[in-house]
Symmetry: C2
Subunit: 235 residues, 2 copies
DNA sequence: ATTTGCATTATGTATGACATAATACGATGC
DNA sequence: GCATCGTATTATGTCATACATAATGCAAAT
């Protein structure tokens, strides 16, 4: 008797735990009743009674939802729905040495993708003040030929400011968690070092381009600025 | 007496819960002992004894770590460290109607940023087979003038294939969770509809560009292809 | 040697008790 | 009246204990 023949006669057993089921129930409730941030959900004992499980199970479910950032619990007041902080969620999980190598590489690439892709938003949303600040940041930039290895703080200040200019809070959150990973990969020797030592578009030059308010040119400039990193990845 | 004067004399009280502390302890343990995926951690009762708290607290901490994707627990075998699935984590939390409007807008923008930014990876990593598949997908594309509203399935197939070509699993995961949000925003009327009905670079044209293996041109093409969406956001 | 059954073990669930802190509300003082 | 303080209440946070359940390994049986 072949195993495949039985697949549709013997359905997979549901081996999900009580907590799994309660979690689904609650998420369904959120969807069905269109619960929005600020709405509160029944207290633990009530939920336990309604669903016919112990408070233990309910509490574990709520712990999950809390960890997912979907609810917040206050003593006395019960639990209320919350709009999750998308980037904040990942923050704690992104422990460089625990992530497997392929994920690290993925994240490394992700940063490059984002910085090249966000050109439109940087160019359109940079205020005169922003450009002023950027100029201030790059004003001490040495001759590119002289800078052997890069100053990480300087990098963060410049690129961080660009993220800030986009006004996209979620994006800024991503940067916060991408950067440590990025550094880890950069310094871990996971990627081969660049063979050529040409100098590409500098931060100073990027600021000059930004002043022209031309998104295409800025995008090209940023792509060129990151050439060193791209060439490490793309064979 | 001014409140500010007391700030450094009266330090903030630590009002973190036991679970918070145990969580920090465990995360520290992960870092200090350089625990890697596959390594297992002590069993619940042992942890409870070591840290001098009840098993309840330990279990709640482990539930958090499980939810964060950092560990996996199997009956009998205890808990083992795991490399978290970065995108999968967000998946469950991304419930469109619960996210606040600004986050939704952020995510909408994020998709545009990524698709423009990933040009290099698409161009460098597309195999002949991939291009073949793309050609197959777009072969029935009607005249752009004729298509009044877009076919969502078709969109997903085409753009999804592009994500796939990048070979970046994390990115692919992001697409999975970005898309529903993107759709929700698109159909919710949150953004003003495009005023002009010009036709921009089509999928078919993008495939043709891809064949030339020119990243800059592909990036420009993609940017143009998405012009409709960009113009909704950038005033 | 392969399978079957059983004991073991660590997580999963239930229950009852108490600690703790936020809230509401009434009491007190001016 | 109004502000402040105290206190009872209430829902979450923590503890202890007992038992259920399922995966593992080993022994027994064929």
């Amino acid at each position: 008797m072949k195993i495949e023949d039985l697949q549709d006669i013997l359905p997979a057993i549901d081996n999900s735990s009580l907590v799994d089921k309660v979690e689904l129930n609650l998420l369904n409730l959120f969807a069905k009743k269109e619960l929005k941030p600020g709405d509160s959900i029944p207290k633990e004992v009530e939920l336990a009674e309604i669903m016919g499980v112990s408070r233990t199970v309910i509490r574990e479910t709520l712990t999950r939802l809390k960890t997912m950032g979907l609810i917040e619990t206050k003593k006395k007041k019960g639990a209320v729905i919350k709009s999750p902080d998308v980037a904040g969620l990942l923050q704690k999980s992104m422990i460089p040495h625990i992530l497997d190598e392929s994920t690290l590489k993925d994240v490394f690439e992700l940063r490059l993708i984002i910085e090249v892709g966000m050109a439109d938003f940087v160019v359109h949303r940079a205020t005169e003040n922003d450009i002023e600040e950027l100029s201030e940041i790059v004003k001490n930039e040495e001759n590119p030929d002289a800078r052997v290895l890069f100053d990480i703080d300087y990098e963060i200040r410049f690129h961080g400011k660009l993220y800030e200019i986009t006004g996209n809070e979620t994006l800024k959150g991503f940067q916060k968690l991408l950067l440590p990973i990025y550094n880890y990969v950069y310094t871990s020797g996971m990627l081969k070092m660049p063979t050529t030592r040409k100098h590409f578009t500098s931060h100073k030059q990027l600021v000059e381009i930004l002043k022209k308010r031309d998104a295409d040119e800025f995008r090209a400039g940023m792509r060129n600025h990151l050439e060193n990193h791209f060439s490490r990845i793309l064979k």
